[in-house]
Symmetry: C2
Subunit: 119 residues, 2 copies
């Protein structure tokens, strides 16, 4: 169930919109952006994202991430899947291990959309 070429991840549609404060969002635009923010709007996922992002080589093994929380392994797996599905995290399997990395331009676009900075 990798990404289909027909469907853009939510994150890929964000760059199309001017900042929130520039002009009113259309209903359709809002419907596309909300899932992205919804993916971010959870304390566990926020920490996961920032943990991955601040890892030395911008890549983190799931095994490390599991240990950082007091939650079950399936729960962490679920959160990582959510972040991956909206396009905020990339996923790479090497042997038995899976590594996630942050799509920084996606975060930058989203930040610009909210903060009003030109991208």
């Amino acid at each position: 169930m990798s990404k289909s070429s027909l469907e853009l991840t939510p994150v890929e549609t964000v760059a199309c919109c001017s900042p929130l404060t520039k002009e009113p969002l259309s209903g359709e635009q809002a419907e596309r952006i909300a899932p992205l923010l919804k993916a971010l709007a959870d304390p566990v996922r926020l920490r996961l994202l920032s943990l991955v992002a601040s890892h030395s080589d911008s890549e983190a093994c799931v095994c490390d991430l599991n240990d950082a929380f007091d939650l079950s392994q399936p729960t962490i797996s679920h959160h990582l899947k959510v972040l991956h599905e909206v396009g905020l995290l990339d996923r790479a399997k090497r042997g038995v291990w899976v590594y996630y990395s942050v799509r920084r331009e996606a975060l930058a676009d989203l930040g610009a959309l909210i903060g009003g900075v030109a991208s």
Copy 2:
């Protein structure tokens, strides 16, 4: 500003944190930021915010906002309350009308936190 955190709105605690990608968020920081994003993570609230923000004098009357959606008046009122409670919207009552305005520095801080731009 340290953490004797009394009753700051969520938005007022965001400026304390370095960008997501700089260093791992603490559990406590994540718990404070998540409600803010949760407030934004709804298509109706996104449109409300951008409607208010792009109004000519950065202020919008509830009566105008109601008409922009196909939702009941209590629902719009509820969404505005959510945005106000987290500190993204300011509220001013003049006569019978209520005007909401965007706290731009709040949005800017949040954008910087996500996008990684220094604030």
